[in-house]
Amino acid sequence: MTDKEKYTALMQRYWEAETTPEEERELARYAARVDDPDFEEIRGVLGYLSIGREKKARRARTVRMYSFAVVAASIVAAVAIGLNIKTTETGHQDELCVRYSYGEISNNNEQIMSSVESSLAEFFAGSSIADNNLREIFQR
């Protein structure tokens, strides 16, 4: 089995969501080093994920380098201005609010959250299965 065959099979398993994180890293490494259009799509996806990992790693290194000095300076500054120190970074890195609608990306939080609310209400507003049955019948 050639490398290409091996990684094509692995890529197929990735699309079926059956790969392990280690296999995904291996696939990302292969996709990055070959100039093969068959791997262009997976290169984009895994490249995006690895950018996220790299940012996290860089952030961790930065924190280690400046940890003591920055924390000490922050405490002094916070006491001086009478504020509590809060680490704002935690929680924000996982914030996401996006809609992909027939090829168009939207980040309009208000619109997206309004549609989220409507969708949730549709499922959890307490209408019984009998109500749903009647609705289906009248919609037909």
Binding site: V98, S101, I112, A121, E122, A125, I129
Partner: protein, 139 residues
Amino acid sequence: MALLLIASTSWAQKGLNCYPVFRGKVVPAKRMVVTEVRGESMATYKLDYYHSVQFQVDEATAMKVAELILADADAAESAETERTGELLTYALIQPTPFARVRRYLCYQARPAGPAWIITILYLEGSATLEDLRSMFEKQ
């Protein structure tokens, strides 16, 4: 961009049979409305993650999607399902919690002429089913 959006999917969602639908493997991503919200915006609902897809398909594709949903219902902690004729038209599924996080899979198929409009929501968070129902029944 579709790939970037889909790539951020929750790890817990990957184990579900209907996961390929969210990945655009059953209906192409360009023919779907995909919504993904994570973080503080969902805290109001005691949820951490919301991922939905909506698309219009013919009956054969609708049946294919319904089979995946039914497979998740079979493996779930609890599931309410409803059919119209042969087709699954409604499902509220609670897959087993993942790392103590509650998960919900909501499915609806509505007729639109000869086609079907399918909506699937995947939710993660601490909210119980009772929490979600009481939040919305007052509205």
